[in-house]
């Protein structure tokens, strides 16, 4: 985020304030990604953001408070991208699931600092931050609900009641693999894992063969999109903290 010129720039006060806050969130995300949460100090953050200590404490009580705000902004950014998918593909189908997971992997790949904060550094930031992580996982478990209806239809079963233990194991397994790639410094390659992750996710619902077939078959419209935008994740590049883009939908409000 560019620092605003000081002095009489004629910019609206509300804009300056929002810009300062965003700059602090952005600085914290970058500092945490580089040094790890525990090693980062408020001085590091204000130096990077180019704001005064007084300004920092007008917005935040301290490092922990600032981390929570940055975390919320990161989740909001991620969910903003997910919501775009839902608007484009409102029907609960395996293709929708592919698009959602694929978008998340692309956002992480394009924004390694965001990915690191959401999945790795959150553990170091204490119990309150972990609650945010748990809430996000719970949100993703709820996103699996349509797949239980797909399974009930396939098996001719009466009940499409979600299995909470299985849902958590599926989402937890995927989160763990993503975490491992971020820690190994392979965040940019996350989108390559999409077919394998989908196969794992779909198998309980669609059966092994169908899951493998759908997971490894690229849909026609995404091949077309990949051609037009050069297959690049940068087309939907995310900025780390931007609460102004806070577009949580009904579906994701709890995440």
């Amino acid at each position: 985020v560019e620092q605003l010129p000081t002095g009489r720039h004629g910019l609206d006060r509300a804009f300056v304030v929002a810009n300062q806050r965003d700059r602090i969130l952005d600085a914290l995300a970058q500092e945490v990604a580089e040094k790890g949460y525990r090693a980062v100090t408020v001085s590091d953050v204000i130096a990077r953001a180019g704001v005064s200590s007084k300004t920092f404490y007008e917005f935040f009580r301290g490092k922990a408070d600032c981390f929570l705000a940055t975390y919320d902004a990161a989740v909001a950014t991620l969910m903003g991208h997910v919501d775009v998918v839902y608007q484009r593909m409102p029907d609960p189908t395996p293709e929708q699931t592919r698009a959602v997971l694929g978008t998340m992997l692309e956002v992480f790949a394009a924004e390694p600092a965001l990915a690191r904060m959401c999945l790795v550094e959150v553990a170091a930031a204490g119990p309150e931050a972990m609650q945010r992580y748990v809430a996000a996982v719970d949100g993703f478990i709820r996103l699996l609900e349509p797949l239980y209806r797909v399974r009930a239809r396939r098996l001719g079963a009466e009940s499409s009641e979600p299995d909470p233990v299985q849902g958590r194991a599926l989402v937890g397994g995927i989160a763990w693999v993503i975490y491992g790639r971020i820690v190994a410094g392979e965040t940019k390659r996350l989108p390559e894992l999409l077919p394998q992750l989908l196969q794992f996710l779909f198998a309980p619902f669609l059966g092994d063969e169908e899951a493998a077939r759908i997971a490894f078959t690229q849909p026609a419209d995404s091949r077309a999109r990949a051609r037009t935008r050069g297959g690049s994740a940068s087309a939907q590049r995310a900025r780390v903290p931007s609460e102004r883009k806070n577009r949580r939908s009904r579906r994701t409000a709890t995440a």
Partner: protein
């Protein structure tokens, strides 16, 4: 291992740091209270561990080693592949249910202790994935195996167990055995044969 048990001064201190962190969280855990719980003079603590961080990491590593040994021995005693999965998952959950304070200290509160604590956790989960891969050689069929399968399975079981520990429901962990064994079997040999 004697996490939480009696024995040498070192073992008592490992038990005490776990109790203190489980109760107060990592940041608030205090050296003098750890020593008081263990009935060990602070000078001896300093001699054995130096500081709280080192002592806590040693306790987490002891928990991880003990848990791993328990799971590995249950698995090796099983008669066949399917039984070994039930035995291993059961041993994992049973161990954590039997050591709720160590589990809470090392797996929940202790994550805030810095990168070394996370590394112990990560290494332990990687060992479980390796164990699972070794076991899979005895699995009846392996449909379309891929490299992420053990990682996905181990991560899923971990997250599910963690949720119970976080919610202070460690005593209910063994109830998860049938679901999580099925989850593992299905990922390993396919949903149709599981």
């Amino acid at each position: 291992v004697t996490v939480g048990g009696l024995g040498s001064d070192r073992a008592r201190l490992l038990g005490a740091v776990v109790d203190e962190v489980a109760e107060r969280g990592y940041e608030a855990a205090a050296l003098d209270r750890i020593c008081e719980r263990a009935g060990v003079p602070e000078a001896l603590f300093k001699e054995l561990f130096g500081d709280k961080h080192t002592c806590f990491l040693a306790a987490c590593q002891a928990l991880a080693d003990d848990l791993m040994a328990d799971v590995a021995s249950s698995v090796h005693c099983a008669a066949n592949w399917r039984e070994s999965v039930h035995a291993g998952v059961g041993a994992f959950l049973g161990y954590l249910a039997d050591h709720p304070r160590a589990a809470s200290a090392c797996m929940v509160e202790g994550l805030a202790a810095g990168p070394e604590a996370l590394e112990i956790r990560d290494r332990t989960l990687r060992s479980f994935a390796t164990l699972l891969e070794a076991l899979q050689e005895f699995a009846p069929t392996i449909p379309d195996p891929h490299s992420l399968r053990s990682e996905l399975t181990v991560g899923g079981i971990y997250e599910t167990a963690m949720t119970r520990i976080r919610n202070q429901e460690s005593s209910t962990l063994p109830d998860l055995e049938p679901s999580l064994s099925h989850f593992l079997l299905a990922a390993a040999v396919g949903h149709d044969s599981a």
